[in-house]
């Protein structure tokens, strides 16, 4: 969830809300245009209430939300680590995984290639299941059709993972 993304960003260093927002906009590009400007602050206050994030007022400034500096608590760090290692799929969309990769690299939480490999293994396991199930169903039955759809989407996701991996190697070559 987006919450975890924010947490991961704070793992790098404490930040202002507007810094986080501009970072997200940059990472998502056009796909993030629909994001509400104030959404980030809502998320931050939720996280604070949950005790995952602590908030400090910048000294000497009036009490305005965008002047607050947020940082991770210990619980927040634990949550981030668990999120990085989590391979459940599907997320609500590609964005989560995409952001996970970028955040992991920016905050040096893990090697993105390892994340990709782990995810790929999981997807292949699921593909295997779906494939087996599809072959067990009568040819062209309704069930087989749905399973075929699952298989095709998984294939597409796997191809995207491949592209992510290629991207990583290219960036490594240039770093």
């Amino acid at each position: 969830m987006q919450q975890e993304v924010v947490l991961a960003l704070l793992a790098k260093e404490p930040s202002h809300g507007y810094q986080l927002r501009s970072w997200l906009q940059q990472a998502l590009g056009p796909a993030g245009d629909a994001m509400n400007a104030g959404q980030i602050y809502v998320t931050l206050s939720r996280l604070e209430k949950a005790g995952l994030v602590s908030c400090e007022q910048a000294a000497g400034l009036p009490d305005r939300p965008d002047r607050k500096v947020y940082a991770l608590t210990a619980a927040g760090q634990q949550r981030v680590a668990a999120w990085i290692a989590d391979v459940s799929w599907p997320g609500p969309g590609l964005a989560e995984f995409h952001l996970k990769l970028i955040a992991a690299e920016a905050a040096r939480l893990a090697d993105p290639v390892d994340i990709i490999n782990a995810q790929r293994g999981e997807l292949l396991r699921q593909l295997r299941e779906a494939q087996r199930a599809a072959m067990a169903e009568p040819h062209r039955s309704a069930a087989a059709l749905l399973l075929e759809g699952i298989v095709l989407r998984l294939q597409a996701d796997l191809r995207w993972l491949e592209t992510c991996e290629r991207n990583q190697t290219v960036r490594k070559d240039f770093s």
């Binding site: 396991r125 299941e129 494939q131 699952i150 294939q155 491949e162």
Partner: protein
Amino acid sequence: MSDTLSTDTRGTPVLRARGLRREYGRQAGLVRAVSGVDLDVAPGETVAIMGPSGCGKSTLLHLLGGLDRPSAGEIWLAGQSLRGLGERRLARLRRDTVGFVFQAFHLMEELTAAENVELPALLAGRSPGAARRQAGELLDRVGLADRARFLPAALSGGQRQRVAVARALVGDPRVVLADEPTGNLDSEATLDVLRLFEDLHVAGQTLVIVTHDARIAATADRLVTMRDGAFTDETRLTGGTAGAGSGLGALAGLEG
């Protein structure tokens, strides 16, 4: 990254490689197709090797099958080391231990399906009757019994590849090596070959498959990723996540 060895204890490995290297050219023009690969394949296991094109997976497969000589390293096929074997003994070993399936099928155009399948048996010196009989059985097993007399030109791509698989099986090989078996096939034909590989796997055949295709890779027990001539990752695919039903539901987008 060469320490990803299989610790499967089901028996001595059918196929084993240590420190495999294959290089072409010299000095400035040196190309390292395979640089430092270790691999163990247990009996009955299916191993898939994936990677971008040019990463050396086909070269690796040719080395494992004795079709090419490594620049360095050692290979054991069914416990027999390939190092220093003369061409004749290599050929015999290949004949008895390995079945090869190629991306381009490589069927003889002027021979019927049955004649293509029986060819390795004839080369091994078996009697024509026995060879023909076994070819018939294998064609039946891959579902092409009624096409035994057809020339390859009269068969679809998927059917040709199934004939090629039958041919690879005629020597009762310990391991079947498949190099991009569905590379030249459309999705329908890919399904046919897929089913065939699943059947083989269930029957206990050891398979090493080099592939681009995630569907084929998904049939494997173990997936190895290759890049620039070396293994970069290995994942176990069998023994998967929790119950089939729930996973599939989520995949389909149903809220759990």
